[in-house]
Symmetry: C4
Subunit: 228 residues, 4 copies
Amino acid sequence: MTTEPTWSGSAGPTAVSPAGRVAPGTARVEAFSDGVLAVAITLLVLDLKVPHVEHGSVWPPLLDQWPGYAAYVTSFLSIGIMWMNHHSLFVMIARADRKLLFVNLLLLLLIVTVPFSTSLVAEYLTHPGFNGKIAMAIYSGQSFLMGLGFAALWGYPLTHPRLLADGVDVAAARRAFPRFASGSAVYGALVAVSFLNPAVALALHVSVAVYYAFERLPVGQRAGGHLG
Amino acid sequence: MTTEPTWSGSAGPTAVSPAGRVAPGTARVEAFSDGVLAVAITLLVLDLKVPHVEHGSVWPPLLDQWPGYAAYVTSFLSIGIMWMNHHSLFVMIARADRKLLFVNLLLLLLIVTVPFSTSLVAEYLTHPGFNGKIAMAIYSGQSFLMGLGFAALWGYPLTHPRLLADGVDVAAARRAFPRFASGSAVYGALVAVSFLNPAVALALHVSVAVYYAFERLPVGQRAGGHLG
Amino acid sequence: MTTEPTWSGSAGPTAVSPAGRVAPGTARVEAFSDGVLAVAITLLVLDLKVPHVEHGSVWPPLLDQWPGYAAYVTSFLSIGIMWMNHHSLFVMIARADRKLLFVNLLLLLLIVTVPFSTSLVAEYLTHPGFNGKIAMAIYSGQSFLMGLGFAALWGYPLTHPRLLADGVDVAAARRAFPRFASGSAVYGALVAVSFLNPAVALALHVSVAVYYAFERLPVGQRAGGHLG
Amino acid sequence: MTTEPTWSGSAGPTAVSPAGRVAPGTARVEAFSDGVLAVAITLLVLDLKVPHVEHGSVWPPLLDQWPGYAAYVTSFLSIGIMWMNHHSLFVMIARADRKLLFVNLLLLLLIVTVPFSTSLVAEYLTHPGFNGKIAMAIYSGQSFLMGLGFAALWGYPLTHPRLLADGVDVAAARRAFPRFASGSAVYGALVAVSFLNPAVALALHVSVAVYYAFERLPVGQRAGGHLG
């Protein structure tokens, strides 16, 4: 085995410089992650089913499947905003080693199952009995795990600063890390809410997604810096 | 929270310059949008179903599902031309902030449901009774909303010109905006046509798509300028 | 409307030069086409169905669906080689106008339906009676249309040479065009073979795909030139 | 036909240099392969089915389909790590000819069927009788073939060194090749284990994937070299 301080040669096609040398970077990891996220977010549409009616209007059964539309919107926004934040992190990460790639792969493994948990919520949210609560708790628990995945994806380079981009203020980023990682706690709370009222929990998921769309993750960047 | 005048560091891997610095831009937003649109346009094929016949010829049932083929062609052209126009806009947009990303995400959320509404039209266009009209009105209404989405995607940077590329003539673009945004009105009219004759409404959708393929959006560019 | 000699500003993110200017090109058209082809080729796997057996071995029903595997391999190679040839053409095409984009979109519209016609062949190839011949004739007819699409995609820039890359020998390319376009005739012949013996026609499709993988399209390039 | 020493003009959009010349490379092959792998890995989620219950809890049927979750995790990690290794090889491969493209296409043809064999394992792993062993043996046999595909993808440029990047130590790489290629033997052994105990074979697949995530392929690079 050869030494592998960083996956520095893996910058990918997009980082080929004019001189033909491969520049260090994370281009191909980001491109692969983007592709996976783009496919996963689009597969959500397969959860929307066309109702089959022989007689009578298709309008009532279309309206009846509102939990499917609500779950679609929630998950679309969630994955879209995870894409934004994944991107924000990789602006700060300049190099990737095998462990970082593996953590990223585990995070993608979780995100790709969102169409499954979305389908579960669409099917059971309004069921009488306990199944709506189970479905929504699974959905929230998955978000909790994805939050931990993001914490790992950012915690790893913070403890291996040679992977970070030059402009990153490591000390500030480390001070901000507890707040960054505490985002998962919100999803932990949503697991509890899911057992109380699953529809409210779904609505809160939308709120959290919109919040993260506009509130930047506390990654400890320098104000006004040219990084992300 | 840090200041975030623009998402200028988020240019993505494709904009890494030889000197290794990240250049401002919208590369990764465009790449993600391209990916989503490419998946959505290809998922349309899943609406084409192979008919199952035990005895007799497969030819008649294949012909009977002509609304499916018509809806496929219509939606393929629509998404393809939305891709062209999305691209034309982003030639003019040089920087993205969080609000622009969010508007773009909402537009994608609408476009990704096109395979669903296409499936609805394929299933109900030739149904006796009112369901064909409902299906086609939903399809047209969705196009209306996507038109509003494009208006928002272009209206936002027009009112925040620091996001625009250098060569854009902002005054001309603002004068052209009402005409740009009025494209949605066509789809509003198609909602009405859908209730009169859904098959005619579908044919008009094809016409509108082909029209937009060749007629450039009035974005107020300088004639002969090097921008898109 | 403004003048639009070529879509020269639409080079896309990948062609951003170090000076930040957008370079002319077809980068984003190629990226979108690549994405569509990559999704379409991968969706072919959805035609492979897991047989459901309650008792007895799953092995016989797995073997019984050999037409599905044969159709999968044929279509995978066909789309893969269309990707190669699409790419070879775009090495020669330096600029795109709206008409070229539209021709490209129509070609993609045809290619994306390959998973549907593949599924049709998988279902009916070994059916008794005429349905296998209908399915295979549709498959071959689709290839014929895709051949015409490629002829249009290359014929258009040949008659609008300002769209071509600098190194292209236009006169030689025009002389080679009839041979290039005659590839469609092969697929026309396969429509006839489909009515005689559909299994033979499917095998011939594989042969043609492998032939095109290794035999370069006669695009009239200069021997030894730096273009693809 | 013209001479085609290498597919050197096919570098694709991402390798357009500032001077506008097309640089040699494998950028577009990598981008297409990345796209296919990203779609294939994401389609794995379609194997996860929402159970339908009218009465009673959805929890037991969700737990009962644990083989589906296990197969999903195994295949997700396998494809993810094949992506890593595919990328590692292409850092070493600077040029592609038609034969290399064809070998790469055959490898992708195998990888894209992973969602099918995953579904087979998910359905039959815990079936009584022989079907679980058949399903797992097919899964392992497919991994064996993919191992051979990787050996061909690396063996071909090793015997055609003009395709290799400048920094590659060809002699060292050739010495390392037997060890590289012997990875397939592990999967051959897993075919045998599949017949003894399919659940153990599935667990061993996870172990092998994780091993390859961290253990670099013996490609004969120079220690400390700037290549991947």
